[in-house]
Amino acid sequence: ACGDDSDAAGDSGPVTLRLGYFPNITHAPAVVGVEKGIFKEKLGGDVTLETKTFNAGPAAIEAVFSGALDATYIGPNPTVNAFSKSKGEAVRVVSGAASGGVALVVKPGITSAEQLRGKKIATPQLGNTQDVALRYWLKEKGLETTKEGGGDVKVVPQENAQTVETFASGAIDGAWVPEPFVSRLVNAGGTVLVDERDLWPDKKFVITNLLVSTKFLKAHPDVVKKLVEGQVAANEFVNTKPDEAQQAISDHIGKITGKPLDTKLIKQAWPTLEFTNDPIASSLKTGLDHAVAVGLTQPVDLDGLYDLKYLNEVLKAQGKPEVTQP
């Protein structure tokens, strides 16, 4: 494992950075950064970049835990799980990547929370951000839910792919899901009842952030800084040349899945997402509070999760506004 072989915090010698991400629209900066060679360029000749793609968070976290991965783009839930399960030791968030892109899509005809009474609403996974967001929102609207799926509104956690199938077949009445599933449900005849951005201050909440293993961060802070540079540059690219970025995403997904993703779908989902370097730490914290409020988790201490020093150095050097370190 290359991550462990240079324990001395030296910056010399060849280093391999093993980076994980999902071939997915919410991971656009990662996909574009890899596809367009932005990371390679920023990391320079001394650092070899190895990329791995994942289908779901747990495997990525397992890889980080086992030392098979040095950094990964990942959603807020696995981030919290990795941090809390390792008692705050294993991982650090060094940058944000994306915000937004989540909505409650329901069958046409449902126009208010009250109409959801007795209905079945899907979420990606019990206790994940979307699940919590749905339950908290319902609670605020005075609708009870239970962890086991009972209550006024029946919450059914299931894989997103399956949500599309069950929504299409009429087995569920709606779903609180991230992109690109929002767009896909809309295409399957759904209407957006709640755009989650509307529930957050500044319409911002984290959907993807960049995580590095603490070990790697300690051993190669310089490499992490270069990685963050790459992330910032990738976001720059994504935000300034959306068409090219969308094409790159489509091509990249095509390489892995054997079929390029329809750019129409990407275009449709694009406006709901915001690609920002700010990890929006407050939204993660708030989300956790909500989870505690709806009785899904015990309080978790997130102190020390964020290490935004490098991000702020990079932003400062580029004359961009820094983000607040919580």
Partner: protein, 294 residues
């Protein structure tokens, strides 16, 4: 102790190789029931102790961080908590019921399919190879169809379980029927067994060992399909082992994951014990028990 031919003759001793010695040792009559029980039990405990010891040693070596690879103490502590919680027992109840119903359905389908394919030429030509092909289809490929057909009901889970396990059972039946000694089939026919009676009196009992083997493989397929299928439908207020397994992984909860793995292993052991007893009974009847040395 009785002396014997082999011990009494030097040449044999010299020629006996390691494995042979074990085989012959196995053939000796055990002096008592207690010793027999002990002989059957201690290797299990030894194996278990060895496995736990190696595990503990690896953990102590500091090879991986404790959150990546928790030690036995942590896992067994979590297992204890898990065993005291309602979720294990409720999960077991739900999953166990589904496993039994699904497996029963799979066995029914598999037996019929297997018998049909094994003895009816046209069916064999048409479906024979399809059975293994179906067997290789991963459960998730059936999920969309399951949902189309059964929506979010338990039937969807059973559908996946049956599609996973029935081919295995059918293959066991076909294999068994294919290798029924022709002499016994002839004997049965001559004794007046035709059609269904031939199955009942000759083919089924002759194929029984292979059918039991097929059932065992089918159980494994059924259980694995169930573990996947239980994610398909998380029915209101009903927790299940399959869902708990995935949640443990989703939450990166290594101790709980390993606790559930232990539960699955224990269940597997229990089921195997049942199959093993059935198989042993058959082998005793057929007179092929002694040779294997137990």
């Amino acid at each position: 102790m009785a002396s014997d031919t082999l011990a009494g003759s030097a040449r044999t001793d010299a020629e006996i190789s390691g494995l042979d010695a074990l085989e012959i040792a196995g053939r000796e009559k055990p002096p008592s029931r207690a010793i027999r029980l002990w002989a059957a039990t201690w290797p299990k405990f030894a194996a278990l102790a060895l496995a736990v010891a190696i595990w503990q040693a690896v953990v102590w070596s500091g090879w991986k961080e404790p959150w990546a690879l928790p030690g036995p103490a942590v896992v067994f502590e979590d297992l204890g908590r898990y065993a005291l919680s309602a979720s294990l027992w409720e999960g077991l109840a739900t999953t166990g019921r589904r496993a039994l119903v699904g497996f029963a359905a799979a066995v029914a389908v598999g037996l019929l399919l297997g018998l049909g394919v094994a003895r009816v030429k046209v069916l064999r030509a048409a479906l024979g190879s399809m059975i293994t092909a179906l067997q290789t289809m991963p459960s998730i490929a059936w999920f969309p169809l399951a949902i189309l057909l059964f929506q979010l009901s338990e039937q969807a889970i059973f559908f996946v379980v049956v599609l996973g396990a029935a081919p295995s059972v059918a293959n066991g039946v076909i294999h068994g029927v294919d290798y029924v000694p022709p002499l016994l089939v002839r004997a049965g026919r001559n004794l007046g067994a035709r059609g269904l009676n031939l199955y009942r009196y000759v083919i089924a009992p002759a194929a029984l060992p292979a059918i039991v083997a097929g059932l065992k493989q089918g159980w494994a397929f059924a259980w694995r399909s169930l573990m996947a299928g239980e994610l398909l439908v998380v029915i209101a207020e009903r927790t299940s082992i399959g869902a708990q397994l995935t949640y443990a992984r989703d939450f990166s909860d290594a101790p709980r994951l390993m606790a559930i793995m232990i539960v699955i292993l224990v269940l597997g052991l229990l089921v195997d014990t049942a199959f093993g007893a059935a198989d042993k009974a058959i082998r005793r009847r057929w007179g092929v028990l002694d040779q294997a040395g137990n």
